[in-house]
Symmetry: C2
Subunit: 293 residues, 2 copies
């Protein structure tokens, strides 16, 4: 199987699992599920859950065991997008080529749909982890909760909001990124290690790969916000500049960004090669480097 | 020890545990912790965590084991208040006698502080449950997550938001309440039962008590919104009427509400008396009946 068809198959199985995770219902409050499903099933690259499944596979974990954690991670990623798009945050109208959640369902519902997706992430793991030991489930969940919390993704978003009022230094921008985007990507790798009981050395290499790929991912995002095609991206471009936010492009310049991006990708590849069956991870690092959306 | 001094001691220990659960820090994103602490340490009756501790005590669970779950429940309750107060929801300026979170820190921070408190609730349990079996922790967390999710508290808030546009029937209002307020109060009792490995009969009596007290609590809230003293309540009164929301007062009338409230309190007392050492639960039911805030 080629790497790109493996990627596609991962994405398909993840989309299917996400679709099943929140069924349509006809309860009085069914609008909340419609709003949750709208954003969760909007597509996207599914990088984070793909990494959970791939690291799990590398360490010999059955996909059925890893999937609930992959689903939970994507739910958390999705809720963060819904809340980040709110008028009081980035005030975005378009996400993945469609109206943002609050444009579609109203602000109150969008806040609640985000809340419910975060909550559901934990609920989903708690309801679907019967086949592994409770202890391993708890450790993987702890990793997930730390990554998505105030000392992870939410802390990063907090810095991001504050940065609209003052320029950040490079190290502050790197901290922002490592929290806002990095923490969740790292959690994908670490959860795979926990589920597969990886040894210290392989866990370190996994984390290293995730750190490099995570930072590369954000730098690429900043580049695409300047050079990208809004049709391919499914969202507005150029709004980083408008919002006055600190970005890697402003700090390093476009050329500096591209150089750093290539360097990080090579470092990710070096880390990946310390792991067994790393072909897909290597391919994915290059794929993310050259992506158009 | 009198029941009221037991209540006070519970509240003090809960406040102390909440204060320790989120320390002050000097990280770049410290504003998120300041905002979380602002609402979490704003006082309040702490009914939900008190119920966790009391049901745990009744079933022989050490308070140190029950406290992380009590703290988590109060974090979830607090986050829901922050989000419910947002301009796009109830648009409240005052909560517990102080400016609401978004009035104090801005809307973006209030959304994130709420998110972070929900996330922290799970993180807190995951980091502080080493002294009990992983399996029991998972079962108690599952109960918590279900109660706070889309089929619990959030679903209730969804109905509440929708009810601003159309009048609800009595049974719809009861569903709203059982989800929005009831689910979390029931979870307090059930978590105590899970932690203490209570038998089926005692678990059923515990749930029955929580159901009756939970509904009584909401009816009392609706009565206080009409007859209460905004100074004692620390929030505006009369706004239920203005917002066009369905309340028990509109559906049953003030006298009907008071009658129903007394009846529910008596039923709660009957349920409590099926449990060992139920004096405090009985006292609490009457206390909630006569409360002024």
């Amino acid at each position: 199987m080629t790497n790109s068809s493996r990627f596609l198959e991962y994405q398909n199985r993840i989309n299917e699992a996400l679709d099943c995770a929140i069924p349509e219902t006809d309860v009085l409050y069914s609008k909340i599920f419609t709003a949750m499903r709208y954003s969760l099933n909007a597509g996207g690259k599914r990088i984070r859950p793909v990494l959970v499944l791939e690291f799990s596979r590398i360490f010999g974990v059955d996909e059925s065991v890893a999937m609930p954690f992959a689903v939970a991670l994507e739910m958390i990623h999705t809720y963060s997008l819904i809340h980040d798009d709110l008028p009081c945050m980035d005030d975005d109208d378009l996400r993945r080529g469609r109206p943002t959640n609050h444009k579609m369902f109203g602000e109150a519902t969008a806040v609640l749909a985000g809340d419910a997706l975060l909550n559901r992430a934990f609920e989903h793991v708690l309801s679907n982890s019967n086949s592994i030991s409770a202890d391993v489930t708890l450790r993987a969940m702890k990793c997930l909760a730390k990554a998505s919390g105030a000392d992870g993704m939410i802390g990063g978003q907090m810095i991001d909001m504050q940065s609209e009022n003052r320029e950040l230094s490079l190290s502050e921008t790197e901290l922002l990124q490592s929290l806002k985007t990095g923490a969740i990507i790292e959690a994908a790798a670490i959860m795979g290690c926990i589920l597969g009981n990886a040894d210290e050395e392989k866990s370190a290499a996994s984390l290293e790969y995730a750190k490099k790929v995570g930072l590369a991912f954000q730098i690429k995002d900043d580049i695409l916000n300047v050079e990208g095609d809004s049709k391919l991206l499914g969202k507005d471009v150029g709004n980083d500049e408008e919002s006055g936010k600190s970005t890697f492009v402003k700090l390093l310049g476009l050329d500096g960004c591209k150089e750093r991006l290539e360097q990080l990708t090579e470092e990710a590849v070096v880390a990946a090669k310390k792991l067994p069956e790393s072909e897909f991870l290597v391919w994915l690092a290059y794929e993310l480097l050259s992506r158009k959306n």
